[in-house]
């Protein structure tokens, strides 16, 4: 801790609150991202099934998911806007110097997001009056816009990890910017595919997890079966794929960001025959306390042979690499992600086995317990993946080109701590309310399914879009009184 304290003393006082604030807002936003990127896709899958097979249960699920999407998207857009403001509020130094070099990715993202917002509005509000298939096809480009938006964001982030596409002039400012090179950086491909698959997988497991819980509580109707099977199948198919993509990105980091790799694997001295540590804590002197040590394995994983040389943290000056604490954080995040990923593969195989043998869901309650946990677990892996990539890059905001401390705002630490406090309070309230609203919607739907909605009329303003009406629907017009799933 003494080195950490020492480094903190050298850095501007506002660095810590700025970092904490960014970490907090990103960590919150990233929990919503899988649903922004992948929930439209999963909903459209269900929607398609409902239309093609004239299946009212599938249609009901799709409509309910789109009701959830409406709230989720609104909260996501808010937390996302805050992030783009924070680039300026917290890191004006980075934007001032590098904004033109790597900003185009954000430009692509901005436009993609624009299109997504338009299409999602049409999709969410088109259920009632648009023709069923027209409505479906207007929603189909949604997943593509999400992929495009992810392209822009990952282009910007991968540039921060492996910056290129410019030369520095005598005063250290970037000139001769090449846009193609700045977008397609070495880490772009691995990061992009790993990220996109992670988003679809996470959304799949979370949605399936909700119905797994219902299943465990004895609600074993077709509604729960379908609500579980479709998203879980998507996630289960992607899980093994993600394993290969994860392995690939780790190897790319080994080649292109050796110091980050060293932090993630707790490698202190550059050497061959490097052991692999499962967990454990890096000490200031380079030793590792605790954890499980497997001889040779790190070298084998990095280059397929024990003779592979792995660069260690000590190969660069202390202030050019993550501190022992940061390395430990990176390492733990990396190990948790890899562990959960491996366990999820077993779950996917279990599912595949039962499906292959009996064309049916596994019977075991333990399968559904694991499936319910998989939703939470995959959100944790998303957080861990993000921590690995961001903390592992320390102390650089632009790898080997700009330190986080050079990018930070000159605004005083007190202001930043105050804002941090306000933002945490507001976010806790907002995300808490978001969760409460989702749970309320679920309860209302369950009551509606049980036919006891009437008991729950409250207050004068009960005519809200979602959730069952307190009184039975009145036949006020030809379009008003339809059975769900019929002629929308």
């Amino acid at each position: 801790m003494s080195t950490t304290a020492h480094l903190l003393a050298e850095t501007p006082a506002q660095l810590l609150p700025a970092r904490e604030l960014m970490a907090f807002t990103l960590a919150s936003h990233i929990m919503l991202v899988p649903f922004g990127v992948a929930l439209p896709f999963i909903t459209l899958l269900m929607h398609h099934r409902g239309l093609r097979k004239a299946d009212p249960t599938a249609m009901l699920l799709a409509r309910r998911w789109s009701a959830v999407m409406a709230v989720q998207f609104a909260v996501g857009i808010v937390t996302g806007t805050v992030l783009s403001l924070e680039f300026g509020l917290l890191w004006p130094g980075m934007m001032g110097r590098w904004g033109d070099v790597f900003g185009l990715g954000f430009g692509v993202e901005g436009w993609a997001f624009f299109l997504e917002a338009i299409l999602i509005a049409i999709y969410l509000y088109g259920w009632r009056r648009l023709k069923p298939w027209t409505h479906f096809w207007l929603g189909v480009p949604l997943p593509l816009t999400a992929l495009m938006g992810a392209f822009g964001i990952i282009a910007a982030n991968s540039w921060m990890n492996t910056p290129q596409g410019f030369t520095l002039d005598s005063s250290g400012r970037p000139v001769n910017v090449s846009v193609q090179q700045a977008i397609f950086t070495p880490m772009f491909g691995p990061e992009y595919w790993h990220f996109v698959v992670a988003m679809f997988l996470t959304a799949g497991y979370v949605v399936a997890g909700v119905y797994a819980v219902g299943w465990l509580r004895g609600r074993r109707d077709r509604y729960h079966r379908l609500g579980f099977t479709v998203p879980f199948t998507v996630a289960a198919i992607l899980t093994p794929l993600q394993f290969f993509l994860g392995d690939n990105i780790a190897r790319q980091i080994f080649h292109k960001q050796p110091i980050k790799f060293a932090a993630a694997e707790l490698v202190w001295d550059t050497d061959t025959h490097v052991p692999e540590y499962l967990f454990g804590r890096l000490q200031e002197d380079g030793t590792v306390k605790g954890g499980l040590k497997i001889p040779q394995l790190d070298s084998i994983l990095a280059g397929f042979t024990p003779d592979t040389q792995v660069t260690g943290l000590s190969s660069v000056a202390a202030d050019d690499r993550p501190t022992a604490t940061q390395a430990t954080i990176t390492h733990w995040a990396f190990d948790i992600m890899a562990t959960i990923g491996s366990v999820l593969i077993l779950l996917a195989l279990w599912y595949a086995w039962c499906w292959w043998r009996r064309r049916d869901l596994p019977k075991s309650r333990w399968f559904f317990r694991c499936a319910a946990a998989a939703g939470v677990a995959s959100v944790i892996t998303v957080e861990c993946g993000w921590i690995t990539t961001e903390v592992g890059r320390q102390p650089w905001i632009v790898y080997q080109n700009m330190r986080v401390s050079e990018a930070v705002t000159p605004t005083g630490a007190a202001s930043l701590w105050t804002m941090f406090g306000i933002v945490v309070t507001v976010y806790v309230l907002v995300l808490g309310s978001f969760l409460a609203v989702l749970l309320k919607m679920r309860t209302r739907w369950r009551l509606a399914d049980a036919g006891s909605a009437r008991a729950h009329a409250e207050g004068p303003e009960t005519d809200t879009p979602y959730g069952p009406r307190p009184e039975p629907a009145t036949t006020t017009g030809p379009g008003e009184n339809r059975a769900p799933g019929s002629d929308l």
């Binding site: 009701a67 509020l89 436009w111």
Partner: protein
């Protein structure tokens, strides 16, 4: 040349956010003044229904403005976000509260919770445009220059405060005009007169604030003041006043639908007047468009990306607004999500 085009795109994006976002902020403003749960029930119902399908789209203009700012004019972005830290931070907090309040109020049923979300939404609908307005005023007042650190002086001055108030008045005006038209569209005839009156009041307040603003501009803002009272800037200001008068006249008659266009023209013309008055500076009088411009290649690519995006977004946006104004977009109701 490229930098100039990008600067105009930036101004266009600001204008689009001022108009699109402005309507939403204005709706929130009237939500705030609608009175208690019983008295304000009808206006709030209209605000909810009119805003719901489009408010997220309107919000994206801000993100786009920021992206153009940092890619096209990184030093300008750095300058504004360093010097005007506090109002921007407050606007950011306001945006979270506002978006969350609006999004969470809709699916909430309990009156107490709806009241809280509604109050949060409405109060931040007032404060957010005010702080964003002070930022514009702060830039225009010439107290900001590259290297200025955050200080109250940069935004707590006459010009900034006036700009903040004018922004709020403009959003209230836009909101009232749009809600008047929406009231007719949703056949809520009692609300047509309700919002028409408010549109007129807001127009009068906007005009008064504009005149006061021009008179009491503080000495630091002389460059922009000169631009607004001479040449193209003056012509645009006069055009905005004409559009304002036209809106007040239109909103009363049968062709009220056209008042939407004229009210948008008021705000767009005001933003354009500001842009013309400030030429050739991004920050008067210390940073010109040319000095602040980023590298050439990204700027050119940005035009390409914008052109390609326009091909996709233009039609989509037209479809959205057409569907919306033709009443095709309707929220899911309870029986849609009940078995």
């Amino acid at each position: 040349m490229t930098a100039t085009v990008v600067a105009w795109i930036l101004l266009l994006a600001v204008a689009a956010y001022a108009c699109g976002g402005g309507v939403d902020y204005g709706a929130g403003f009237w939500d705030l003044l609608a009175g208690g749960a019983e008295r304000g029930k009808r206006p709030r119902w209209l605000v909810d229904h009119a805003m719901a399908p489009v408010w997220e789209v309107n919000n994206v203009w801000l993100i786009f403005t920021l992206v153009v700012m940092w890619t096209g004019f990184p030093v300008f972005f750095q300058t504004v976000f360093t010097a005007l830290w506090l109002p921007l931070a407050l606007a950011a907090v306001g945006m979270v509260l506002r978006g969350a309040g609006f999004a969470l109020r809709k699916p909430t049923r309990r009156l107490a919770a709806r009241r809280i979300y509604g109050a949060v939404f409405a109060v931040s609908s007032l404060l957010t445009p005010f702080f964003l307005g002070t930022v514009i005023g702060g830039v225009a007042s010439g107290r900001v220059s590259p290297g200025t650190t955050a200080s109250a002086d940069a935004w707590a001055n006459t010009t900034s405060i006036m700009a903040g108030l004018i922004t709020v008045a403009a959003t209230a005006f836009l909101g009232a005009v749009f809600l008047t038209v929406d009231a007719r569209r949703f056949e809520a005839h009692d609300l047509v007169g309700y919002f028409r009156l408010r549109a007129r009041i807001a127009a009068a307040v906007l005009l008064a604030l504009g005149v006061i603003g021009l008179v009491v501009t503080d000495p630091h803002a002389s460059y922009v003041h000169h631009g607004l009272t001479h040449g193209a800037g003056l012509a645009l200001v006069i055009a905005a006043v004409v559009a304002l008068a036209l809106s007040v006249w239109l909103v009363a008659g049968q062709a009220a639908g056209w008042a939407r266009y004229s009210s948008v023209a008021v705000v767009a013309l005001l933003v354009a007047a500001w842009g013309f008055a400030q030429r050739p500076y991004l920050v008067p009088t210390s940073l010109t468009v040319q000095q602040g411009a980023g590298a050439d290649a990204p700027l050119q690519w940005m035009l390409v990306v914008a052109a390609v995006a326009l091909v996709f977004i233009g039609p989509a946006l037209v479809v959205l607004y057409r569907l919306d104004t033709h009443g095709v977009l309707e929220p899911l109701t309870d029986e849609d999500v009940a078995e």
